[in-house]
Symmetry: C2
Subunit: 360 residues, 2 copies
């Protein structure tokens, strides 16, 4: 599928992904916007042994702009946007208000001083997958979803090759209940200079499990869920989705390829084809869950770029804060302060409802 | 200070804490409510190596009742509440919709099977500190705040002595933006059957730091913040508050006693007296931050009941999701899925604003 690289007026990269080569790209960005010079900072929390990004400039980021002022719509006469083109299929560009930017070294944990800082090196990208301001991923057709997957895989490979990148995270925040600041549907990609705390914790368990059993924990988990069956939501030729046994969220489902791979770039074309269908199916079951557009976080867990690639398992974790049609789950004291989750829904009943929502 | 134990109609314990002995307690609870038989379950997440509570009955819990139907107001003719008394100072009772209940063994990590469950043994309590439905902790007087501290210490000691309890967590969720389901101001106490993930992570760092340096990480952190000074918010005779160097939240401040103790029960009367003033001062600075009642989580980190008590440090972490007067910070993809926090505010500027809000 054709891929066209261009640059925005302030020097940021923008890439069009198309199902067929067209004559209309690239067009130049004729806006007058200056490169941003503010660099976010990483600070090490010595108690949690985690890096925190301090990004003061993001306070000024675009916040719920009106539809006719949307920076993710195609450009038109009198309204120049981030996408200098009258239409697009899939387009990826560097975030104007990044949490990570520039190059640096990848970071390890266990810092030395109590007040350690680093530049927040890395990269943040925005993934626009429809020019329809009121659209959603779930309403894409399979061909478009397939093109998005191609873009995800492309970006994963390219960002992984940048110096200092430790993990590439492809995700979508959907809905204002999740904190989305722009209503136009879009995904994001964060290329981190460290392995994220969640991935680090998972891979610690995976390593211990391998030492104890000689087997891979992800493989055994997927097998055990299929054998048990009560939490399985869908199975396709190459993909399996289930509500995890210890689900944290009132709606939560994980999607794994049947054959373990480290990241999206490692998926074969055939498995990508099947993913387009399976992912759309899952998102539509999500919207059917309460009969409203489900606010969700769709998070692709990928192997770190430089370690434990043989152990890790690409998978999607899709979850929502919606706990009833008119109620949200909040991360309050137990979750936010102590990391101890309380889920008001039984995983088996979440799975049943997601299974029944099929085809909606 | 007098402490009066009684029981609610369904058998739950309720304890009045008073500044002076009164004749009016206890009165019987004349409601007809049956004991709840639903027991929440713990499930082990083998990837994160964490216990998750599955508590389906909590879906039915009281949700933002109208003021004249508030279960935390004192009882009056025709409106019997959780507190069978026409007025109260501080009262603590078992939560009717607990995340943890009943007795069991305390749990360790590194479970064996992939689908491990346990009863969610433990205890959840509600702490009412004012009969004023529209009040707030920040508007208590120092004598009342001092009485609350007495109740916290009492509960910490008593719950720690129960079999199977691994950690006692005293906290307050304030504001609907935090997910509070009852507007009447109140705090909570969770007695967990496991050491929470956050505490476990902190104490892992503390243990490693001791092995490497022979010193205590908390002691060195407090000393370093005082020496640096830029993030210090207030100092009293026995307490020190500062914005942590790697703050995760747009408003965040930590409060430590100058002399390290494991938990609230270990504080001397004199240090408790001083805490009443310091804590009220801090909360009032919080409300002055944006000039609105600040939604916050106030979380007391205490030593585990049965391990590492010599290493741990009682301290309060007070933080808010409010990132501007009209904007909230949400835990979206990077935070909720990957555990990687991005803060839009610089810790030094948070501290400066909290310092300037003094006396408000």
């Amino acid at each position: 599928m054709p891929r066209t690289l261009t640059h925005l007026a302030d020097g940021r990269e923008l890439i069009y992904f198309d199902t067929a080569l067209t004559q209309r790209r690239p067009e130049g960005d004729s806006r007058r916007i200056a490169p941003r010079s503010d660099v976010p900072q990483l600070r090490h929390d010595p108690l949690a042994d985690e890096w925190v990004v301090i990004a003061g400039h993001r306070m000024d980021r675009t916040f719920l702009p009106a539809a006719d002022d949307c920076p993710l719509c195609p450009s038109r006469e009198g309204h120049l946007t981030e996408i200098p083109c009258p239409d697009y299929e899939v387009v990826v560009f560097e975030n104007r208000f990044p949490s990570f930017t520039g190059s640096g070294d990848s970071l390890i944990y266990g810092g030395e001083g109590l007040f350690e800082t680093r530049p927040a090196a890395g990269r943040c990208e925005v993934v626009c997958f429809t020019s329809d301001h009121d659209g959603s991923f779930a309403r894409l057709d399979a061909a478009r979803a397939r093109l998005v997957i191609e873009a995800w895989a492309d970006r994963t490979a390219e960002l992984s090759a940048l110096p200092g990148i430790a993990q590439v995270f492809v995700f979508e925040n959907r809905g204002e209940a999740i904190g989305v600041t722009m209503r136009h549907p879009h995904g994001q990609i964060y290329a981190y200079p460290f392995v994220t705390p969640t991935t680090r914790a998972h891979l610690t368990s995976v390593r211990r499990y391998r030492e104890e059993t000689g087997r891979n924990l992800y493989d055994d988990l997927v097998r055990a869920e299929l054998d048990d069956g009560r939490r399985v939501v869908l199975e396709s030729q190459h993909w399996v989705a289930f509500v995890p046994f210890a689900a944290r969220w009132p709606v939560e489902v994980h999607l794994y390829p049947r054959r373990r791979v480290p990241d999206l770039a490692a998926l074969s074309p055939e498995v990508r084809d099947d993913l387009a269908e399976a992912y759309l199916d899952l998102l539509r079951r999500g919207d059917a869950f309460f009969g409203i557009p489900l606010p969700y976080i769709a998070a692709w867990h990928q192997a770190p770029v430089r370690e434990q690639r043989d152990d890790a398992a690409l998978h999607l974790e899709l979850f929502s804060v919606q706990r009833a049609v008119d109620k949200l789950k909040y991360l309050a004291g137990s979750e936010s302060a102590m990391g101890a989750f309380v889920n008001d829904r039984e995983p088996e009943s979440i799975a049943q409802r997601l299974r029944e929502g099929g085809g909606a």
